[in-house]
Symmetry: C2
Subunit: 228 residues, 2 copies
DNA sequence: CGACGGCTTGATCCGAGTCAATCCTGGTGG
DNA sequence: CCACCAGGATTGACTCGGATCAAGCCGTCG
């Protein structure tokens, strides 16, 4: 089950740069462009499993990925959502701490960790960029601990929406690739509470829900007020 | 207020290695030994503040440190406790994401980040070790998200006790350097719930409380069962 | 001895969870 | 084109775990 993860999903795609590629890429993104193979993962398929060997690094090209941990009885905590451009799976230890799954049909660039690490040993800029990305993930995790430990349902949902809007560079309308269950497991709530809180925010005219996976932010100010 | 943090607390101590120092030190610990100055921080004094410039890296020599974040209304989330040997403040960004305070009178080795980073650029092993420590912190944060998002009070306290025992290499008796309030803010509970849960575990004969800061683990098995 | 800070305990409350129906909505087949 | 279906989302009624509010208790230190 070790090396199967990557191979299992589908054939690698031709390695062409995205049409409107930024000129200045970070060292890590450059390394992905050079050494990574794009792989397609179908909706809800595993990218890697918890306690599998951490043999690869990953960068989302299109789609979305969730990392999570489950307890024996099925309780699940999603650690983060990864959107196009985001890097994940930067483990320093032997194996992965979380599992990762595609939320929707996705293309993920997969680079062999040993290759990247070998280059980093001779390329200080790359080493620094790997560190920067890892530390960035740590920072987000710390923010999320504050949310999980101390914020109420309304604050959690508001934070989540603002964060998604920021990451999608959305002016008004946020597209949610994930289900209510995913949001619930990310925010440490139940699906019912997420749903209720969204309608509640709609009643307050802070947001609008044209469809269940699309949110229009009508009043960022009132969401921000909740955010803390 | 930038450089004051370190200077404010007290005079550096003579730089002598701990009496029973392990022979094989990691690259980062070696760098601390070489480039770090031991500084004393009194109980409840700030090591660094949130959004202060991240100018130094830190390693606990003796005592204990907490990192945390507070909301405007005073709600606080402690991200981690650091015990002797632990490294903290490994920020890649401009400034700190959390604040850090000494829990008890502590000695902390302080090394200038620019110095360490400059060495890391020429020393791949050091760069790798910095990365490893950062990724380790990320991993612990992810574990903690599961606790905060999905575990009940009893499971949280049990996890905490087992974790402290492991870190102190305690056979039976765990010494808690931190107050109930600290534990509560770490576990996302209130001080009352922490206290009640401890007495509850004592009633179940899973633990004993010879004093409020000292816990004897009578049945690791039953704690483990709660841990998940 | 008194006072203070940290901890525990009790009584009550309330926000989110649980359980249980619906209600869409998008896809399928007739 | 429409009826039907399935899975995801919403809503309602009720419960309950942990928060809140309020005393006490205990140990340490002056």
């Amino acid at each position: 089950m070790q090396t199967q993860t990557v191979a299992a999903s589908t054939r690698p795609l031709p390695s062409r740069p995205a049409p409107t590629q930024k000129v200045t890429l970070g060292a890590l993104s450059s390394a992905f462009a050079l050494h990574g193979a794009p792989v397609r993962f179908a909706r809800n398929t595993e990218v890697y499993g918890e306690s599998e060997q951490a043999e690869y690094f990953y960068q989302v090209v299109s789609g979305a990925v969730r990392t999570y941990k489950v307890m024996q009885d099925g309780r699940r905590q999603i650690g983060a959502f990864y959107l196009p451009g985001d890097v994940f799976g930067l483990e320093a230890g032997e194996d992965h701490a979380f599992s990762a799954e595609a939320i929707v049909d996705s293309i993920v660039r997969v680079a062999r960790r040993s290759t990247i690490v070998a280059h980093a040993a001779r390329d200080g800029e790359l080493a620094a960029d790997i560190w920067t990305h890892t530390a960035g993930g740590f920072r987000l995790a710390q923010e999320h601990m504050l949310l999980l430990g101390r914020k109420n349902a309304e604050e959690r949902v508001a934070s989540f929406l603002l964060d998604m809007a920021r990451r999608e560079s959305a002016i008004e309308v946020v597209e949610l690739p994930m289900s209510r269950q995913d949001i619930a497991d990310y925010l440490g709530l139940t699906i019912e509470t997420v749903s209720r809180t969204l309608t509640q925010l709609e009643d307050k005219e802070a947001i609008e829900l044209p469809s269940s996976r699309r949110v229009r932010l009508r009043s960022r100010a009132s969401l921000q007020r909740l955010n803390g």
